[in-house]
């Protein structure tokens, strides 16, 4: 799987709102994309994506009859594909293949692995299911929490890949984020009293509700601070927040609900400046109680910058320098903070290091733009 190390980190916490927050420094505007290779094809693709986003609601409505039948079967299949006796890679490939209906080629293209690798992974997983006796059955009630955790982790990976990759450049004809959301709806429908499943669905919906503002006409990413919030689907945001509120009432706290609450803070804010950063900081602290991972700490540092000071945030970021040395967002965050504090030479070095660590074209373009804006 492409960037597997990133997925381990991303699994903890990566959200577009927070990645964008890293970029959302109050100075320049939309990242410039060199005009040279701007083509009508790129424009058309970007507009297609925007149109498909708006079609999500309609599509979900169309799918509902399909969900009404076979929902339990599909869920049973998901639990089987996500059995802990299978590796996470195998769980993901198998779920995409057998539950969502991706072809091996589509899976390979979505995760930038070879078709042969994916095919082999699926064959081995299916063989293990048969030979090791993994049953095709809903888990026993005593096991449900742990087993559901595996399913939700796979859905999280699916969603992140679909949502965070600059996938408009990579030709794959299925939308992972929408498929993950559809499956999360299925889980919530069949298991309606699982707060973390509801929290995950709310998180997905909050991200997708804002996707209209994420890209400009050329398909480049727009920083959260600069997004036109009138393009966000406010009705969907309100509905997703209401779902989260219902989840919280079940009193089964967990990381997905917390991440959804953070996304909710962004989604409900009328502006970047008007965002409730102290609340976001408090939510991160609660998330860190459950999962003190370095990536979550990095995202907390961004909230510290907004809620407290750049100096305090840089201190937090420096503490992560060893554990996140290979993570481009550590270096880009550090760069922006150093620049803010007048340490331009150090900032340039940090930007360069970030550039060395990411292959994502949209991110690279953004970083080069930031380096040039001294």
């Amino acid at each position: 799987m492409r960037r597997y190390g990133d997925f381990d980190l991303a699994e903890d916490c990566t959200q577009d709102a927070l990645l964008a927050a890293v970029r959302a420094w109050p100075s320049t505007g939309i990242p410039r994309r060199p005009g040279a290779w701007l083509t009508t094809v790129a424009q058309r693709r970007a507009l297609d994506r925007l149109r498909r986003r708006k079609g999500l609601q309609a599509r979900a409505a169309q799918l509902r009859p399909e969900l009404a039948e076979g929902g339990d079967e599909r869920l049973r299949l998901m639990f089987t594909c996500c059995h802990p006796a299978l590796s996470r890679d195998a769980q993901l490939a198998l779920t995409l293949r057998t539950v969502v209906g991706f072809t091996t080629r589509q899976i390979a293209s979505a995760f930038l692995t070879s078709e042969a690798t994916v095919a082999q992974r699926i064959v081995r997983a299916k063989r293990k299911i048969v030979e090791a006796g993994i049953p095709y059955r809903m888990p026993a009630p005593a096991d449900l929490d742990q087993r559901l955790g595996e399913v939700l982790a796979v859905l999280y990976l699916m969603f992140n890949e679909g949502y965070l990759s600059s996938s408009w450049e990579i030709p794959h004809d299925r939308n992972l984020a929408e498929d993950a959301t559809w499956l999360a709806r299925l889980v919530v429908r069949v298991l309606p009293r699982q707060a973390e499943a509801m929290g995950l669905l709310a998180l997905f919906r909050l991200q997708l509700a804002r996707v209209g503002g994420r890209f400009d006409q050329t398909g480049a990413l727009i920083r959260l601070a600069d997004q036109d919030r009138s393009l966000w689907d406010r009705a969907e945001i309100a509905s997703a927040v209401e779902l989260l509120d219902r989840a919280v009432l079940l009193r089964q706290p967990g990381p997905y609900q917390l991440q959804a609450a953070i996304a909710g803070c962004h989604a409900e804010a009328a502006s970047w400046e008007g965002t409730d950063w102290p609340m976001i900081l408090r939510l991160y602290d609660r998330l860190l109680d459950l999962d003190p991972s370095p990536v979550i700490k990095l995202n907390r540092a961004v909230a510290t910058w907004r809620a407290v000071s750049a100096g305090a945030a840089l201190v937090e970021v420096e503490q992560l320098a060893t554990s996140l040395n290979e993570y481009h967002l550590l270096h880009s965050t550090r760069a922006e903070l150093q620049r803010e504090l007048g340490q331009e030479a150090e900032a340039q070095r940090s930007f360069q290091r970030a550039l060395d660590l990411t292959l994502n074209p949209a991110e690279r373009s953004h970083l080069r733009g930031r380096m040039a804006t001294a």
């Binding site: 059995h83 006796a85 030979e131 090791a132 006796g133 993994i134 049953p135 059955r137 888990p139 026993a140």
Partner: protein, 111 residues
């Protein structure tokens, strides 16, 4: 389905600082419960790894050495052969095993 359970732990130590007798009592209870249920087909506790002898092949003649085949921190302290409907049933049994730091569940090749 038939599985072999391989009970692995630090050689000779009882897990969690409990006394050997307390742990063995729990093991007996576990064994009795699942034997009664017909799930346990066979099994033995093994003597410590220091009493093992290993024969290595690959040279001109087989070589005999002192000790277990792998010098590891964790050694196999015992095994069981179980007959249960599926892996989840095996996992349910194994999760209540009181005496090792890890247990491997390996499906047996059946004719």
């Amino acid at each position: 389905m038939k599985y072999m359970l391989l009970f692995a732990g630090a050689d000779g130590d009882a897990p969690g600082g409990e006394s050997m007798t307390a742990v063995m009592a729990k093991v007996d209870k576990w064994w009795h419960k699942y034997s009664e249920a017909g799930a346990i087909v066979g099994g033995e506790q093994l003597q410590p790894a220091s009493r093992a002898t290993t024969v290595r092949f690959g040279g001109e003649t087989p070589t005999v050495v002192d000790g277990p085949f792998a010098e590891t921190k964790e050694v196999i302290g015992g095994f069981a052969i179980i007959q249960v409907p599926d892996l989840d049933a095996a996992l349910e049994m194994v999760k209540s095993w009181p005496a090792s730091s890890s247990v491997e569940i390996r499906p047996v090749v059946e004719a």
